[in-house]
Amino acid sequence: MMRFLEKVLPLFSWLCGAVLVAAISSVTGYLLFKGLRGVNLGLLFGTTDPVAALMLRQQVFDGLFPAMVGTLSLVLMSVGWAIPIGIAAGIYLAEYARGRTKMIFNLLFDILAGLPSVIIGLFGFSLTLFLNRHVSEALRPCLLISSIALAFLVLPYIIRTTQLAFESLPVQSRMTARALGASRLQNIVHVLLPQAFPGISSGVILAIGRCAEDTIVIMLTGVVASAGVPRSLLSPYEALPFYIYYISSQYGDQQELARGYSAAILLLIICLFLFSLAFLIKKGARYRTLYRP
């Protein structure tokens, strides 16, 4: 029986991997087949002059450039809020919190991780109403509120991956610098954090993907069908996932649907760009911290 399992298990694992690769390839392939033809400057800028649009001298009304800018700004801002807070919280949980405090924080972050995105969206919406009534009437659903709400959505990914990355470092790594006279903070900054980078960056990549794809949170907090390139943090904005959702549920003809597929390809390209950026930063920061003489 054991010998049978020894032979079957690797085969089963290989098969699962192959199914996964096939699934991803077929989805991407289908998307490319349906939408690649439509990916051109016209899709981005419509009838507007691309240079004028890029210089923000002319608004784009019939292209996806504003939605691309909106998505990129939204993801960068959300991850920008979530990274420092998430890493700090993860480090606190792994290195400082003990006993009951650690248990309570773990429970709270687990609850936050399990919240459906519509609840986070409603939180963002309620926050907007509160700010509108009590702070300034100028505060309405906007890029800033969306990014804060999305940051809440992805915080648990970054917290958990940071905590796990720190906790899985070998005890010897932890003790070496301390034996050399490093303070707790020096140990974290100079030794543990650079070693935990790969783990943390996978959390950041997950967070980027989650921010880029989420629709329900942004629908409740600031995204609109047509707003142009956001002029400030307090402006409503366009975003690719919302455009894709909108087109796929209300398309008038096949040409419009094809634009939806092309928009999905653009979203993939943005994600790929952000993942590569995260990878390069990780690699650069690691080299700078650890190996530069």
């Binding site: 003790m175 610098a177 034996a179 006279g181 530069r292």
Partner: protein
Amino acid sequence: MEPPVKIRINSLSFCYNGRKVLRHTSVSFSTNSITAIVGPSGTGKSTFLMTLNRLWEELPNCSLQGTVEIRFNGVFSNIYEREFAVEKLRRQVGMVFQTPNPLPMSIFKNVAFPLELAGEKEKDFIRARVEEALQKVRLWDEVKDRLSESALSLSGGQQQRMCIARAMILQPEILLLDEPTSSLDHTGAEAIEQLLLQLKQNCTILVVSHYLDQVKRIADRVVELRDGQLCSR
């Protein structure tokens, strides 16, 4: 004339995970000497070393009672007093572990690391001290052309010598070595022994060792840890 006492331990008890490793033991160690600590495996020799630089405080479920006094600048200080800065202590009491533990950094950064932690910023000074430390452990010629390579690329023996260089770079007054030659071949071990004999001119050395012939070659005194007590042999 007896050399002056460097470390004075009085009624030291240590408990790790509910197990009593040291039981009201008292012992002292002389300045600029090599003391070998021997005893059966698992009796707590490594743990005892950690009570001298308070490294055990990084481990969970440990407790300590008693006093450990070290003479710095001619005056004995209890290292467990509240106002005694632990980081400062560890810069004066270097430690080398049983298995080489290079940090995942370049060779240069590994050796220079304690200096940087201590706030040294002068690059030329750091370079000179790194070279000096690596020369002392006879590693300079082997690594001088690849200082920016990862320290993990060194062989086991080279890594251990680098760890000793790293522990020595702050010129500590006390050096704790936990079986430093256990991962080295004969030549590597001999080089470390020669180095220790050279270092003892300016340093008090406590070395845990299982090799009795090595102990005979280098130790001025042998102390055995048995049933939680440290006794001279």
